[in-house]
Amino acid sequence: MADKEIKLMKGNEVIAHAAVRCGCDGYFGYPITPQSEVMETLMELKPWETTGMVVLQAESELASINMVYGGAATGKRVMTSSSSPGISLMSEGMSYLAACELPCLIVNCQRGGPGLGTIQPSQGDYFQACKGGAHGDFHLIVLAPASVQEMHDFVELGFELAFKYRNPAMILADGAIGQMMEKVVLSPQKPRRTDAEIEAECGPWAACGKGNRRERNICTSLELQSEKMEKINQRLQTKYATIEAAEARWEEIECDDAEYVIVAFGSSARICSATVEAARKQGIKVGLLRPITLYPFPAQAVAALAGRGVKGFLSVELNAGQMVEDVRLAVAGKAPVEHYGRQGGMMFTPDEALEALKEKLLK
């Protein structure tokens, strides 16, 4: 076995390397801070000369998400990346992707909002990512990386889940994870799927030219008969229920004996792991529950902790309190649930999170 390929890289750069290495067929993007390194790195890597991957700078986020839609409709592994304001522009396309059940990967390297906001990190798009974020009843599969290594790993995982469920998947990162440099173990290069492999996997639905199929494939989200449209809605909801039952992922740190549990994802979770250490040094039994999938939200893990008598939960987020609603739903009144967060691109320290926990839950 070859030695592991270990590099020091930015989270955004790693997204590009991971995309090429996992056999991605196409990337379509538009520059926006703090994630522009994704496309810059891809252009430098020139994967069209090696794996045959297409990389295209589009004229807008509207165009890039619709390019993703077009590529996905032909069964290809395609992706885009952007940051919060750009993701808002893409939301129309996400609704169409979900409606047509097209697999793809979208990376949101969040910055502070609303509006143009700031280019500094934020987690203000939790609602947008997890609660649909565009018109119609739909869900994205949402992964929340807390390290550069997870930025790498979630590219392949995102594609895997997207194709397994024929559903768009999102990596909900933030400016901190995108910009920070860390050690990362790169995966070996995988070939892109051949046309025959795509036909085998996506033949029943991909509109890639009839070829030798007898029946043609049509990719559309239009159904004007309400009776039929409701059936489509129900089929989608059944799929989401399957995803909720099977795909929730989370990490528990020192939760076994914890009396208080911090729930945090992404860069917030990274900071809060130090909060747990600081609290334990002071004799306060604090644990950290880190949701890895935000949709599906690991409600069962939160409920289990609440069920075994955790005295209080603190949802720590870089926003005014969004995930806290899902924590409250899961705790279902069994214990107090509070929120602590910073906004506008401001981060908190481990001690500030600990002070918030003491003030809100220990008093």
């Binding site: 196409g26 297409v54 004229e59 509207l62 409709a73 032909t74 509109a207 890639c208 030219g209």
Partner: protein
């Protein structure tokens, strides 16, 4: 009605093989049906049934996918050229074309259209210009003529109030990536034949990798224009064609 049996040797016209049996939703006199027929014939004659991916828009031709028997991707309103860009780049050996109306292409989809043309994407666009939003009930479109009455210009389009119409085909001429731009119509049999040749040329241009092609078809919307099909054809000739003159606008090679 009794069925009349026509002997094969006496047959002068038949339904194109690739037109499906779905009942078309288009109004009597509408140009869409004729252009669909031409597209289906050209795909069949070029032997591209199995290697074509069509992209249709939002508007009257939102159901275009029902009628021509090839793989089809429906795009969000205005985004057809972006959708087609990726399809073609990821499937370079396929014929990829968009089929769009004036509201879809020249209003909400202006950006996607111009940038696909500017990049020289090897796709073709069939552009149905009937100067009105047909599907939503006859509102003003960017190509509505001055003075023309629509649901949102009930007293006639006024330049001061509603702005001027524009010719997107002529605009595209200035782009290096756009190599075949032509304007046709289907209001007479002779024009139908010319239009078919243009569609074939556009598809050939795409397959040759010679950049972006557009066949604008100046079309009628008898329902939206509130005219009989015959009156609409006459009105098209007297009013639309002076402003949107027919013929090739640009035929060139992609700069290398």
């Amino acid at each position: 009605m009794s069925e009349v049996e026509i002997k094969r040797e006496n047959l002068v016209y038949d339904k194109p093989r690739l037109i499906t049996d779905d009942v078309m939703h288009y109004c009597p006199g509408c140009s869409h049906g004729t252009v669909h027929k031409l597209v289906a014939e050209v795909i069949d004659e070029m032997g591209l049934e199995k290697s074509t991916i069509a992209v249709s828009p939002v508007g009257c031709s939102v159901f275009a996918y029902k009628y021509v028997d090839v793989d089809w991707v429906e795009a969000a309103h205005g985004r057809a050229c972006a959708v087609a860009t990726a399809i073609k780049r990821l499937n370079p050996d396929r014929l990829v074309f968009t089929y769009q109306g004036d509201g879809d292409l020249a209003a909400i989809g202006t950006g996607e259209t111009i940038h696909a043309a500017a990049r020289g994407e090897n796709i073709a666009t069939i552009f149905i210009n009937n100067a009105i939003y047909g599907m939503t009930g006859g509102q003003m479109s960017p190509t509505t003529l001055l003075g023309m009455k629509t649901a949102t210009t009930p007293y006639g389009r006024d330049a001061g109030l509603n702005g001027f119409p524009y010719k997107i085909a002529e605009m595209l001429v200035h782009l290096d990536g756009a190599t075949y731009i032509t304007r046709q119509s289907v209001h007479t049999p002779a024009n139908v034949r010319k239009c078919k040749k243009a569609i074939r040329k556009a598809f050939e241009n795409s397959l040759a990798g010679n950049g972006y092609s557009m066949v604008e078809v100046v079309s009628t919307c008898s329902s939206g224009w509130k005219m009989s099909p015959v009156e609409a054809n006459k009105w098209l000739e007297e009013n639309m064609l002076p402003y949107y003159p027919l013929g090739d606008i640009k035929v060139s090679e992609l700069p290398r």
